[in-house]
Symmetry: C2
Subunit: 458 residues, 2 copies
Amino acid sequence: MTSPAKFKKDKEIIAEYDTQVKEIRAQLTEQMKCLDQQCELRVQLLQDLQDFFRKKAEIEMDYSRNLEKLAERFLAKTCSTKDQQFKKDQNVLSPVNCWNLLLNQVKRESRDHTTLSDIYLNNIIPRFVQVSEDSGRLFKKSKEVGQQLQDDLMKVLNELYSVMKTYHMYNADSISAQSKLKEAEKQEEKQIGKSVKQEDRQTPRSPDSTANVRIEEKHVRRSSVKKIEKMKEKRQAKYTENKLKAIKARNEYLLALEATNASVFKYYIHDLSDLIDCCDLGYHASLNRALRTFLSAELNLEQSKHEGLDAIENAVENLDATSDKQRLMEMYNNVFCPPMKFEFQPHMGDMASQLCAQQPVQSELLQRCQQLQSRLSTLKIENEEVKKTMEATLQTIQDIVTVEDFDVSDCFQYSNSMESVKSTVSETFMSKPSIAKRRANQQETEQFYFTVRECYGF
Amino acid sequence: MTSPAKFKKDKEIIAEYDTQVKEIRAQLTEQMKCLDQQCELRVQLLQDLQDFFRKKAEIEMDYSRNLEKLAERFLAKTCSTKDQQFKKDQNVLSPVNCWNLLLNQVKRESRDHTTLSDIYLNNIIPRFVQVSEDSGRLFKKSKEVGQQLQDDLMKVLNELYSVMKTYHMYNADSISAQSKLKEAEKQEEKQIGKSVKQEDRQTPRSPDSTANVRIEEKHVRRSSVKKIEKMKEKRQAKYTENKLKAIKARNEYLLALEATNASVFKYYIHDLSDLIDCCDLGYHASLNRALRTFLSAELNLEQSKHEGLDAIENAVENLDATSDKQRLMEMYNNVFCPPMKFEFQPHMGDMASQLCAQQPVQSELLQRCQQLQSRLSTLKIENEEVKKTMEATLQTIQDIVTVEDFDVSDCFQYSNSMESVKSTVSETFMSKPSIAKRRANQQETEQFYFTVRECYGF
């Protein structure tokens, strides 16, 4: 009746179920391990972030101190060596103004990097400490919850196992009862078969036909038939009972199967996701705020620095020789102001304070005047030429000294490799052959300019 | 004839002139001193600028090295402790991405500050060296030219002095000759007066009336008159000659006066200005370029840093729990993927794989179903309540962890005094009472959230 090729044996079914449950149990363990690992990584990351910002705070503080020292060194120098009025005087000159702003900028940057360091230590790191605490606490709680969920799931799986086994048992009982019933039926059949052989063949082979047999035989047969009937009835009852139990057990198994699948689905699809959500509760948002604090600090530093650079740029734009000359001359007014005109001093009450241009000096003066006029017009022509040469020479010098060679953007365009920065950068200003050539040209032109000036009475 | 109250004496005039020339000479000396001082200050300023940038280059290099070490420390850690695949896996998580970008940023800043240092050393400082050389050379030449101009001016002043003295001399000679002439005229007059007394009173008192006197007396008188006449003629001639000389001398003096005043004017108004221009030739322009190189370097650094911060900001914006959860589950797919559904395992070829819901189990199942439905509707109502509570609690936590408390602009707003930065800044994050309160609230809410979840089966 049982065909091994067709039906799985109980053992096989149990073994399969065991395997399936073992796999799930292994997964559950791995899930916990995975959460542990994520927790560990998160704790490590937050520790790294703290260490990173602690170390960076030190670096920023170091940088700030060095910048402050640098500024103080030159500010002290300016304050000590010269008296205050002199210093104040010099400040009106545009290059000195640039220099002062440079020093101010260094002071400003020093201060800003101290602030940055302070924000790292007193704001950003505490945030990471908090995130770390929160994460640890949430992971712990989530793991507890997760463990409970897993235990519940395992309970469901065990229940399914037990329900399945019950079903097997009751079904086996039912099958057994059925086979026993069938056996009884067979025996009854056999008994009836005997009666038919020993008696008339007319009699149909039914228990009711026993009325026709002989009394004695009849009695024996009747008692035997009754026995079998009784047994059959018993077995029938047993079978019916077992069959019902098996049906109920199967129903329980089927219901437990649905419930287990639903539980497994709920655990894998919802609970695990919720569990990770609980571990993450606020993590990303808090990390976001900590990093935004960092960004806010950096951007404020940048803005402050930029403001300083703007001030310097403005001062550089105002570098102006003409106004500096004006300021210098005003500053040393007594040194540069022209003296009183020399007045005619009449000798012993000499009344004539005008040039006497009458005879006999008239002709001589006229001649002299003509000579001077002729000399003057020659000089004027010469002068025009010299002026043109000088202007052209000056323009050449101006062109040389105002060439726009100050853009260093190239130096900040690195190759993707991030390597060999030095070699790229060092090729800048001085090593360019064009610079040397330009400088030679500048000095030559300058020399020429001076020569021309000197030759023609400045 | 000379009235001391009315005319200045020669000595006074000479003394006044001397004083005036001395004053000019003192001014000229001061002018040279002033140029020297400006040259010295300029050389000093350029030296200071070189020292400043040399020292700043060191500071930037130091800063760069420290940043590099910082980045390497954590990058090495990430590389060594875990295998590459694992690291790669983790990189898909948004917090790890932020962390990697932070380290990248430090590397980028390290590189940029090296570049900055390099530009200081190899571009900006050489520029200042050049400007210093140029300035020194130009000052030297300008001073030579200035000295020549001053010598020329002194020559003109000396000439004026000598011309003035000549005028004084010739005018004195002229006056003397005139007075001698006048004396002769007086004598002649006297002689004629004698003749008139000794002779007729009719005769007019003229030299021609001598014809009427006695021969002897006539002869004596005539010879005396002739003598006087001769002397007078001589004196007349002398006077005329001296007068002409005096006029010429005065003319020379007046011309020299004009020339001197013009020279002085030219020197004070044009030459001094030109001299300063020559000292400044290219100075402001070259300084401008050197400082613009500095600005270009700083602005490029700023831009590069800003790009890095933008990348970090973008990563911070992309901090997302949901997608991280998704990625984690994909990463550990074998751990998180739901197992196969549990299938009905028929026992010994049991053909019924469906719930048997006929008599005699029907009524029992129906009863059970009704019980479950009633329980389910109770749970649904409860669930709705719990869900609402949980959502509200979660929202509270979300509100706490997403509060926008990351703006640190205030820390960069210093008081004008630039002092007491520390005290202002340290009042930030942790010391605020609101933070402690908020944290307590957060943990309480979190606890409540977990309790609710646990009570109602997660």
